[in-house]
């Protein structure tokens, strides 16, 4: 029985490590400037945890096999513990765990502790049951005010703009696809119209909840890598359970060259 359990634990360990190490299922392509840092921290954590995983599981396997009761006269090691060992592994675990965490600190700080770079393209993102809409400020660079009472999904006024009375709203562009230029910092202002939603683009290594009553800014820059795959088109999916249609709440991110982006934006403006 000891041998059997040792073998099974060893097999499970080997299979798990192999699948991770061989990248059988692996991270999708990274299309953002900050994504490399996240991926590096992920891999570092994977190696770190992988070593502990293998040592702990194989240690367990070895001990249950080696110290099985063979019906002989061997006496057990009568020991209530060892304080020096306790102190050693407590200190080691504390240093390793906290150290690993601090190594990832800078990535998080760069994503959140500072705002977007000056001149970043601002886009407002609105989540609602079960769609995303995006608003660009237009040539004047200003977002017009929103009016709750003007919201009307039937006429396509998802944000509640009053284009007749608010001069800033006149040139606002509302789209159902998130078009962004490559290599230019983008700042998204995330909001929700009804319940909690989330904005997740796995290739962008970005995930952020959207909550009613809050405007949450996030920023990123798409790299040239984005244009090389999937024609620059990536799925945006909702990861916050938002009601019965949650599973079909999605939109697309379209990364374009600067010139294509300007052209696209003009086309969108024309169709408002």
């Amino acid at each position: 029985m000891g041998l059997a359990i040792a073998l099974v634990i060893t097999l499970i360990t080997a299979a798990s490590v192999y699948i991770f190490a061989a990248h059988v299922w692996w991270l999708p392509v990274d299309i953002s400037t900050h994504g490399a840092g996240i991926d590096r921290q992920f891999i570092l954590t994977l190696v770190f945890c992988g070593v502990i995983f293998v040592l702990a599981q194989l240690g367990l396997a070895l001990f249950v096999w080696k110290y099985r009761d063979r019906g002989d006269k061997r006496k057990v090691t009568y020991s209530h513990g060892n304080n020096r060992l306790e102190a050693t592994w407590t200190t080691a675990a504390a240093i390793l765990f906290i150290g690993l965490n601090l190594m990832g600190y800078r990535i998080w700080a760069n994503m959140h502790f500072t705002g977007a770079a000056p001149g970043a393209l601002q886009i407002e993102v609105q989540g609602q049951q079960f769609a995303y809409y995006f608003r660009y400020a237009g040539p004047d660079g200003k977002f017009g005010p929103l009016h709750v009472d003007k919201v009307d999904d039937a006429t396509g006024n998802f944000f509640g703009l009053d284009r007749d009375h608010d001069p800033d709203s006149k040139d606002d562009i509302v789209t159902a696809t998130l078009g962004i230029p490559v290599n230019r910092p983008v700042e998204l202002l995330l909001r929700s119209k009804d319940v909690g939603h989330s904005f997740y683009v796995r290739e962008l290594r970005v995930q952020q909840d959207m909550l009613p009553g809050l405007e949450i800014p996030i920023h990123f820059t798409a790299t040239d890598e984005a244009l090389k795959h999937q024609n620059g088109r990536y799925e945006i999916v909702c990861t916050q359970l938002c009601g019965l249609g949650h599973y079909k709440m999605r939109a697309f991110l379209q990364v374009m060259t600067e010139a294509d982006f300007e052209k696209w934006l003009q086309q969108q403006a024309a169709s408002q």
Binding site: T45, I52, L60, F63, V76, T77, G81, I216, R250
Partner: protein, 591 residues
């Protein structure tokens, strides 16, 4: 303190009729069994729900005729809708977290075993004990009722995030009466747990028999005691949160609902000033300690069983107690790691992250000490021992993936993917359930006076152990690819290549779920036909093994045991046998 308890504890007499003996019983042993069977009923429903979900995920068109009878709207013609999937998922999570993982390990085994292990005749407050069970039972009935209301069960997940849950049926089917019932059920569960927690704390502190110093408590008693403190502090907060949520729904308040919400093209003008993040803070202030409420009793049982069947003292008793205290203490400071992407301040995200990594330290200490206990032992592979070894393996696997999610920069990618689902199922779900299986096989002889069948037990162990790894380890791979959770269909293009892996997991889930029938058969068959158990079939040392199996009504037949030793005196050099009971006069060399 410990000596003056006897009269107080046993104010009630042996019951004489069926109702007072088995239904409204004041006996901690009967109440412990009641909790155990409530958890068993819940886990059966919970597993059926997960089988239905795994079926729907890979064969969305499959016909399940009886499902349409249960919910004509949720499964028209027996084919489950994606919306109904969310409802089943919500009910699965709620049942498993509350009525299984919180109920059996703590209230079930704790109730049955704790008073006997400390040498008491009953819990400190037997009537409160009965009341806490029946309150919990009522909570279960109310939750089950949600299956049968016209709109169906809630579909907001076991976390019930506001404002989806705070605005009523306008948010969608299931958010009406179903969500009301969910909140009432949870509030009742909180009340039951609070009463139970008070009872456990008072019992452990006041009813220990002579010589049962805190430093001689079995580690499972320590685990139940610390868990009770966690439950007292966290369920009180969840109860308040549930009341506020209910008030938002029916009382016109706006604790969690901000102004200007537009749902289905309608402005909700009757709400303003609330904060959705407040719900998340309150919920996770409970929700994270809850994880430890589920797992600490399993840790205690595992420690107890590992030492008993290694025939060796537990390695680092004080370190084990200290680690559990540290887990309990730190467990209240890490709730924000569930909220890294919620919109909470990124600075507090960093602080929560450091605390979360810190809580990994006592978890590591426990693992080291379990390995230290096995080291140099003479391991007897009973089924209870196999499940305890399985617990250690699963705890390591599931615990380590927590190190990824504890780092906000990594969590940004993995949050709300299957990586999270794999992580918490392994560590708080399956590991805790292995703790329950270990406890069942270990204490069954005491509880029912008969032995469980070891051959069936081992077959059940092997299928379950391999099965759960086949189900939950691949979830980590899915998470790495970015497979989001809480999706009933693969509408998103990037998910479609993952379907074969999902099929593998579903098949593993069906086999593993089927294997649980072996356990159920073994449990009920052994109850009536199992071989009669002796007083101490495992040659264990704690006080429950000094009395007949099953114990008499007042446990120690009017006597008060006196304790001379710690609970893990195995393999003592020079001793007559390879173990020394806690109440034995034999001397043990100073350590």
């Amino acid at each position: 303190m410990a000596e003056m308890h006897a009269e107080v504890a046993h104010a009630h007499h042996a019951p004489t009729n069926f109702i007072s003996k088995y239904i409204f019983s004041l006996d901690h042993k009967v109440i412990g069994k009641q909790y155990y069977f409530l958890a068993l009923a819940s886990v059966v429903v919970g597993i059926i729900l997960s089988v239905l979900m795994r079926l729907h995920l890979v064969w969305p068109d499959v016909h399940i005729p009886w499902l349409s009878a249960l919910s004509p709207a949720g499964a028209p013609g027996g084919v489950m809708t994606p919306e109904y999937y969310l409802s089943l998922m919500t009910m699965h999570g709620t049942l498993m977290v509350f009525f299984v993982l919180t109920t059996a390990p703590q209230a079930g085994f704790g109730n049955y075993v704790l008073p006997i292990q400390i040498g008491a005749e009953d819990m400190a407050f037997p009537r409160l004990n009965m009341l806490s069970f029946w309150t919990t039972f009522l909570g279960f009935v109310v939750l089950m009722a949600a299956f049968f209301v016209p709109d169906g069960p809630p579909l907001s997940g076991w976390t019930a995030y506001a404002p989806l849950t705070a605005i009523g049926s306008i948010a969608g089917p299931g958010e009406g009466m179903g969500q009301n019932l969910w909140i009432i059920s949870i509030a009742l569960f909180c009340v039951g747990s609070l009463m139970g927690a008070l009872n456990f704390i008072a019992t452990t502190l006041d009813l220990r028999t002579r010589g049962m110093k805190m430093s001689r408590l079995p580690l499972c008693v320590w685990a139940w005691f610390i868990t009770a403190i966690l439950a007292l502090l966290s369920f009180a907060v969840l109860f308040a949160a549930a009341v506020l949520l209910m008030l938002d729904r029916v009382g016109g308040t706006s604790f969690f609902v901000p102004a200007g919400l537009i749902v289905s093209d309608r402005v909700l003008s009757n709400h303003s000033g609330g904060a959705p993040l407040l719900w998340q803070h309150l919920f996770w202030f409970f929700g994270h300690p809850e994880v430890y409420i589920a797992i600490l009793p399993g840790m205690g049982i595992t420690s107890h069983v590992l030492s008993t069947f290694s025939r060796k003292p537990i390695f680092g008793y004080k370190a084990m107690v200290g680690a559990m205290m540290a887990i309990g203490f730190l467990g209240f400071m890490v709730w924000g790691h569930h909220m890294f992407v919620s919109g909470m301040s990124p600075y507090s995200g960093f602080a929560f992250s450091v605390m979360t990594m810190a809580i990994g330290v006592p978890s590591a200490i426990k693992t080291f000490n379990w390995l230290g206990t096995l080291w140099g032992g003479k391991i007897r592979f009973t089924t209870a021992m196999l499940f305890a070894i399985g617990f250690v393996s699963l705890f390591v696997s599931g615990g380590l993936s927590g190190l990824f999610l504890a780092q906000p920069a990594v969590d940004v990618y993995l949050h709300a993917t299957y990586f999270v689902v794999g992580h918490f199922h392994l560590v708080m779900g399956v590991a805790a359930i292995f703790g329950m299986f270990a406890g069942t096989f270990f204490w069954f002889p005491k509880m029912f006076g008969r032995m469980m069948n070891e051959t069936l037990g081992k077959i059940h162990f092997w299928i379950t152990f391999v099965g759960v790894y086949c189900i939950f380890m691949p979830m980590h791979f899915l998470g790495v690819t970015g497979n989001v959770r809480r999706y009933s269909t693969f509408v998103d293009d990037f998910l479609k290549p993952l379907i074969p892996l999902h099929e593998f997991m579903s098949i593993a889930a069906f086999i593993t779920a089927g294997a649980q029938l072996i356990f159920l058969f073994n449990l009920f068959w052994s109850m009536f036909k199992g071989q009669k158990a002796t007083e101490n079939p495992w040659e264990a040392t704690s006080l429950e093994w000094t009395i007949p199996s099953p114990p008499p009504f007042d446990n120690f037949a009017g006597k008060h045991p006196v304790v001379y030793h710690g609970p893990y005196e195995f393999g003592v050099p020079g001793a007559a046998k390879d173990y020394i009971m806690q109440d034995s006069h034999e001397t043990v060399p100073a350590t």
